[in-house]
Structures are given as structure tokens and as C-alpha cells.
Symmetry: C2
Subunit: 279 residues, 2 copies
Amino acid sequence: MGLWYYETYRGRVKLGLKVRRSLFTKQSDYQLVEVIETEAYGKTLAIDGIYMTSERDEHYYHEMLVHPALTTVANPERVLIIGGGDGGTAREVLRHDAVKKVQLVEIDQVVVDACRAHLPDHFSWDDPRFELIIADGIQFLADAAPDSYDVVLLDGSDPVGPAQGLFNRSFYEHVKRALKPTGAFALQSEGPILMPDLFLDIVHTVRDLFAQAHPYFGPVPIYGAGIWSWTVASETLDARTPDPDRVARFARACKYYNCDIHRAAFAVPNDLARALVEN
Amino acid sequence: MGLWYYETYRGRVKLGLKVRRSLFTKQSDYQLVEVIETEAYGKTLAIDGIYMTSERDEHYYHEMLVHPALTTVANPERVLIIGGGDGGTAREVLRHDAVKKVQLVEIDQVVVDACRAHLPDHFSWDDPRFELIIADGIQFLADAAPDSYDVVLLDGSDPVGPAQGLFNRSFYEHVKRALKPTGAFALQSEGPILMPDLFLDIVHTVRDLFAQAHPYFGPVPIYGAGIWSWTVASETLDARTPDPDRVARFARACKYYNCDIHRAAFAVPNDLARALVEN
């Protein structure tokens, strides 16, 4: 059967991908960074044994993290990305004409190096509006001036390992302070079917801090969890109803996202609606 | 690591489930029928090594196969299910008060026996409106009187093995003939991300025959394909916009389905919208 790579979810579910070849393996100061070429999804980034992104499915994740927030904020000039060292989130942000400056704060230079070498289609890296900062995102946000960003995007891995400090109230308080009241914050909020505890914890914590906070849903095939979720929050804006004219300006370039998909993503299944009220 | 069960998709992707114990294994006249108890999804039916349904995720599949069609037809008195020997589809059909008669035509008695013994929560089997018929669904439909059903549901496995004849133009022509012009037909139409060829083939073939045919999407975690699809077709009805009053009559009993989910499921991703036009 040849070479296979397996991610294991809580010891109960495995997603195996048939591997053509291993392209990159390095233990950084923070984590094990690997790029493998898989039959199903092309070149695939894995960190500490967890699939992060791949050539053929990355648009599901990146388009959905970025566009609901960016189409909701009236004039998203200044955008901060925490994590996202593969560049896919920055690429989607830069589809929006209003954006004047994107800062991407990634803790691990090795992730950026691996992706620039092996996932070049994820991002061109040389847009003049783009700035790469290799630093600890928690400290960076703690030091950020208040009201300095229109959009903050948390593109971190799971709440374990170096990303753990990105998924708690203290971090979200820094986000809120750095964000303009007319801005929006979006983050991935885990797979609600296999990891309902993490999903509920993230949504509740964000809801406690922001006047508006709405989970939304879509597929990310390499996350093996049936459905994935993101959450978008704001002090003043409701991201659930997109403006078709805003969406029309860029969505033709998207592989997944469009105006119908934006609206549809906010439909909440009965069991999750009940769990969000009860837990 | 103990005992694991793996389904392999086209030799490229595997979904592994950790197994507590094997409950049932029998080679029937048609296929290998197994029931395993898995850590993640509870008791799980597999046929010829392919996951069919499980205690903890079956509602995603069954609610979405049934309710878009059943809420669209004005008075769904007579319903025919082809396949569906686990009973979950029949259970969802019987939530609709208008239903007077459900016939379920399953080719393999062994599937019914395995599910009655090991998946008892799927269905009670003794509703007076319900009739189980062990027969070849293709022949049954070929013999059916014209205009005799309000809804036909195809709850078959993949278009390989004994279910192959359920996924072609000749079968859909039998469906159309047996269906009233005011009725609707729904079927599972495969995972469009991992099996785009099967998805496109099913949707195109159904579209060639029915005046209205619309694919729709949702998660089915044990199908390991990121997202699943169904297609609903009719000579006269557009299933995309549900009547909230109709939905309110039964949807509180659903774990996944509600009015927002119904509408949202018909949002088509950009890449699939393009593929449906081009291919």
C-alpha cells in the first residue's frame, strides 16, 4: 500500500493520506514542521502531526476565515493576521481593494520557509501592502496601540502547543483593545462534531467579550471532522448578512466563497443551537 | 493502538475509526455486512468495507435526504424508499403527519436483520404506516404503477456493487414514471470534493430528466469526504425555499435540520457551480 500519513483525532478517528514523497521535515524551536506531497490533496503542510493546509483544499479554510469579516467591515484598511505562516490568509485579505496594510505575525520562521519553498501558490509574499513579522503574536498584540486595526484574524492551529495562548480570554481581550469599535475579529473555532467542547468554549469566550459573535460553518476536507467552524465577532457589526455589491467585487476569484455561501454558513444546526444555549 | 477499521477512498484517503468490538459480520448473497462499535460514532454499519451509517452521525444523512423533499411536496401521502435497510430514512419520513404509507424496498434481508438487532434506535419498524419489502428496487420500480408515489427517496450506497443499477438514467426514468407530477425525488449524490465525477454525473443525469433538479450539501462525518451532497428533483416543484410553517411542525425533533439549514444547504460553492455548467 506504500507510504501513508495519519492524523489521529483524540485517539478515536484517523485521517490517512497516501503520500507520494516527503518534501520537508524540520524540528523548529517550537514544533515539528513537515511538507508532504499527497495523492488526494497535493502538497500538504503538517505541524506536530496535524494537517494544517494543502494545495487542493486550502481555499475552503482561507476564504472562509477571511471574507465574512472583510466584507462586513466598511473600510478594512489595516488588517492583522496572527499565525497563518503559509500565506493563504494574507492572499485572501489582499483581494480586498480597501486594504492598505496587512501585518502577519508568525512565531515560527521555519513554517514560513517551508511554505515559501514548497507551497509557492499559497501566496506571492512580495505585495507592497504586506509585512511579515516573525514574533510571538500574544506579545505583539499586548504591545499594539488601541484602536489600531480594522480587522484581526487569528489563523492559529489547535489550542495545544505553541498556539495554546491564542485561544483564551486574555488573548481575546488584547484583540478587542487593538481593534477599532467599527472593526471585526475572526478566528477558526474547531470542528464542532468531533471537538464540541473546544468549539463551545471558543464561541462562549468570544461572546462574553464582544457585543456580536457568530459561529459559522463549512467543509475543510483535511481536517477530517465532517464540518469546520469559524467565529466572527465585533462590537458594532453583524457579519451574517453580506452586501452583494461588496462580495461581487472580489468573489469571482474565489473557489468556494460567494454571497450565498456567506449567508448559508451562518445557519446553525439544531444540536449546536441547543448546546450553545445550554453549555 | 488496539483495533481500527479503515475505509479507503480511491486508494488515496483513509478514514480510520477506533473499534471497541465487532458486533456482526456476515457475507450475504449480495455483500459483506458488518456492524462495529466505534469510539467516536457508536455502533456503525459498514457494507463491503464502506461506512454506511452510525448511531452518532446518522441524523446528518437521514434528515437531509428526507426533509427537503418531504417539506416541498404539498401532501406527501405515499412515499417509496429504495434501499435504506437501516431504517433511519423511514423514521424521518414518518415524522411528517401527511404520510399515510411508506414502502421500503431493500434488496438484502441481512442488512435489515443486522440493523434491527444492533441499531435499534434507528427505527422502531412497527409503525402501521410502514411496509418492508425485501426485493430488487430496480425491478420493483419498473413494475410500479405510473403516478403512484408523492415522494421517492433513493437511499442506496455508492454506484458500485449491488447499488450500481440505482445510479443511471434508466433507473431515474422508472422513478419519474412512478412519481406523480406534483411529487419529488431525492437521492444521495456522493461527495463532490473527493468524487466530483460521480457527483457531476448524478446531477447531470437527473437534470436531463426532471424540470427541476438541485444539488444540496451538508456534513456526514463518517463519509470522510469533507462534505456530502444530495439532489432533489421534481417536474413542478422547486425545493430550495422551504415553508417555515411546514418545517416548524416537525423540525424540533431533528438534531441537524431546520429551516435555515434547509435554505443554506442549497448554496453552491463557486467551483461546483462552474463545474456544473462546464461538465
